[in-house]
Symmetry: C2
Subunit: 113 residues, 2 copies
DNA sequence: CATTAATATAACCGATTGGTAAGATAAGTG
DNA sequence: CACTTATCTTACCAATCGGTTATATTAATG
């Protein structure tokens, strides 16, 4: 899991337009014009976003005549998820740690020396 | 899960220095100077990174005399993970879909009309 | 009190980002 | 062939980013 891949992936995910594009692509391939339609933005702007997503490996593009359909790619998404899930132990242990702390405080409340 | 929170979180995660800081904080609180030590970077640069992490809700800061210890915060991390995990179904189904496609192709190979 | 240590702030810089408008390219269609 | 459709490319712009140096603030310490 290379550092620069994660850089590109998280950076790509940091933009709401791009996240919306990814969400749309979950229900299947789409062309540039289809992807651009919901946004109040020119087509070149969408093309730029698609390039960012492609460089991050989050999508790939085919060729169908004059259309360049985009599809979601699983690998980069999985890589980012894996990185984040490595922190899951932290936030799950957190509540256990809080319990332990409360116990500790209770013990201090009961003076015994 | 607000859009602008995800914006800030993913943007914060897009920088390798900041990811390294988070990784370091998994093993407990640390001061600014402690966090800055491993990096070939001035202290103000680290302070800036910490501000980005804090604005994203990924860390919080305490006060211990002249030190401002940083600790990891679970909530924002969890939010980002949740967003990404929503895509897990996609990449898990992907292989099942591939299987289905291969079956389909096999059937086409065996002419039956 | 003078000094040192920990952190923050301000001003600045070059590179990148997210958008635009205008025009090029390339593929279907009458 | 002329026209339209889908997409890309090229400048251009303002804003943000990631870093710097220099300076201020605040707290500990001799």
């Amino acid at each position: 899991m290379s550092t620069s891949t994660l850089d590109a992936t998280f950076a790509a995910l940091a933009d709401p337009t791009r996240r919306a594009i990814l969400a749309r692509l979950r229900s299947g391939e789409a062309t540039v014009t289809e992807l651009a339609a919901p946004f109040d933005m020119t087509q070149p702007a969408i093309t730029k976003h698609l390039k960012v997503l492609e460089r991050a490996g989050l999508i790939s593009r085919g060729r169908d005549g004059q259309r360049r359909p985009c599809r979601l790619e699983a690998a980069a998404l999985k890589e980012a998820t894996d990185w984040l899930e490595d922190y899951r132990g932290f936030w799950e242990h957190r509540y256990r740690n809080l319990d332990a702390l409360l116990d500790e405080l209770k013990e201090k409340d009961a003076p015994h020396e």
